[in-house]
Amino acid sequence: MSKLGLLSILAAGILFGFGLSYATMIQPEVVLSFLRLEDFGLAWVMGGGALVTLIAYQYMPRLLRRPLFAPTFDRHSATLDRKTLGGAAIFGIGWGISGVCPGPAIAGLGAGNWPMLISLLGMFLGALAQGLWIGRKKTLATASA
């Protein structure tokens, strides 16, 4: 990736982090109030974000030959299987315990919300455990095959 490309990735992250903060998503209390059905505002955050993204993902590849600083537009891919849905169920349990999901765990640091460091550390360890677990399952499968 060129320097300009990396700078524009930084700019994208800044917009994302600013939006998360402006929408008060870096306050776990607000997220928990949504999950306890006291304030449905989070639906507007996800809806607004997804709508803008939908327009970009649908039209940019049709209207532009290539991105500004890269050769091709990627495609989002997800498969409907037990891993995706089981993982989502587990993710929701964690999100419901803390009110913190990956974006806010990172962005919260910029706003001086230091306790979020605990969540951030937890997420790194959770992702590590997932990688070790999947890696081990694959090794066992290869060994028995």
Partner: protein, 154 residues
């Protein structure tokens, strides 16, 4: 009705959401990359862990830009604090933050996406699996958050 569903109003939620969408769209426009937030938690381990799982090309090739993207996230929140906001400390207890973070990190990586990966990028791609993932994690999160409150969590 509106006041009951949205006691704090909707303007800041919607504007913040549009801004998040603008960030994800700018990332796509300038680099063609799909920018969910949970992959960085796996790809960063590839710097230090030599196991085949972490050394997959999708992690090694994306680990640098994902860290830059994450740094932008922190900067964006800092700019917000200096312009509109004030420092905010959560009062959610440490066991909730730590345990919740661990479980959410494990689950998001197992699922291949989180609130941004499935919720914003996946729905924005009209991906049915992502819609199913969103409905699944909303359900378990609502049940869990309610139970945690019952046992005395924040």
């Amino acid at each position: 009705m509106i006041e009951t569903l949205f006691p704090l109003g909707i303007a800041h939620y919607l504007l913040g959401g549009l801004c998040i969408g603008a960030g994800v769209s700018w990332l796509y426009y300038s680099t063609g990359l799909i920018g969910g937030m949970s992959s960085v938690f796996t790809s960063t381990w590839s710097f230090v862990i030599d196991l085949p799982f972490f050394q997959q090309s999708r992690f090694v090739n994306s680990r640098n830009w994902r860290l830059v993207y994450a740094a932008g996230l922190i900067l964006g929140a800092l700019i917000w604090m200096l312009s509109f906001g004030e420092p905010f400390r959560t009062s959610v207890s440490w066991w909730q933050l730590g345990l919740g973070g661990f479980v959410a990190g494990f689950g998001a990586r197992q699922s291949g996406g989180c609130t941004s990966g499935h919720g914003i990028c996946g729905l924005g791609s009209l991906q049915l699996p992502s819609l199913a993932a969103v409905l699944t994690f909303l359900t378990t999160a609502i049940v869990t958050a309610t139970l945690v409150q019952l046992i005395g969590g924040v």
